[in-house]
Amino acid sequence: MSESFRIELSSSPRLLQVVRAVVSQYGRLLALGEDETFRLKTAVDEACANVIRHSYGGDPGQPIVLTFTVSDDRLEILVRDFGTKPDPQRLKPQREDQAKPGGLGLPLILSVMDEVAYDLSPEKGSALRMVKYLRGRDGE
């Protein structure tokens, strides 16, 4: 079984609290537990903040699209922007079109998610793909 939802928001920093509220609610729905939900919320917040600061240079009116997909034992979160791509020189390539992200939020994101990779292949902007393995959930 697979389920997904998508939210689009403008790159306004004050909307980060809305994103966190959505992630908190979804974490509860997935029975992730309080600590894991907090950490997931942090990872998504950091990813969006990176888009606001770096991809859009602080411009609050640009689109960010978040796609959450749960299938089997994994949660995948895609953070898509249409701004400036991350500087490839600062990224350690994993595959030809993918690389790990950089910045102060990186250790936070990596501490939470099991897979983290940038997709730099879109013609405009980039997509950060974050995967969390859902082991030992209480729910369902």
Binding site: L16, Q17, R20, D45, E46, L104, P107, L108
Partner: protein
């Protein structure tokens, strides 16, 4: 998020409440820069009522620490909930700060 500053002896206590993120951290920065510009001898940031902090909040505290060190001032944190402390740990900055369980313990260390 709310930020209030009060004095206790030689310490300036910055009480932060709510969620500290990219949107709200400038307000905390304003308080810290104001105190360090005035060369406050000791700045204690009380985070016991902070429910969330992201890397922009942590970076703001790093900046406060660096500003205080420039003139030999002390800069301490107190009252971090476990989830907030984990943010420092995962940002690999936990050991950069003097962190105390609560404000009284931090004030005692300043005496």
């Amino acid at each position: 998020m709310e930020v209030a500053v009060r004095r206790d002896g030689r310490a300036a206590i910055v009480e932060v409440r709510g969620e500290v993120d990219l949107y709200t951290s400038p307000k905390m920065r304003e308080a810290l820069v104001g105190l360090t510009n005035g060369k406050a001898p000791a700045v204690l940031v009380d985070l016991s009522h902070v429910e969330y902090m992201d890397s922009s909040g942590v970076a703001t505290l790093v900046e406060g620490l660096q500003l205080a060190r420039q003139y030999g001032g002390q800069f301490k944190l107190a009252g971090l909930a476990p989830a907030i402390r984990n943010v420092f740990r995962f940002a690999r900055l936990e050991k950069v700060f003097d962190i105390y369980d609560d404000t009284p313990a931090a004030l005692e260390a300043l005496r």
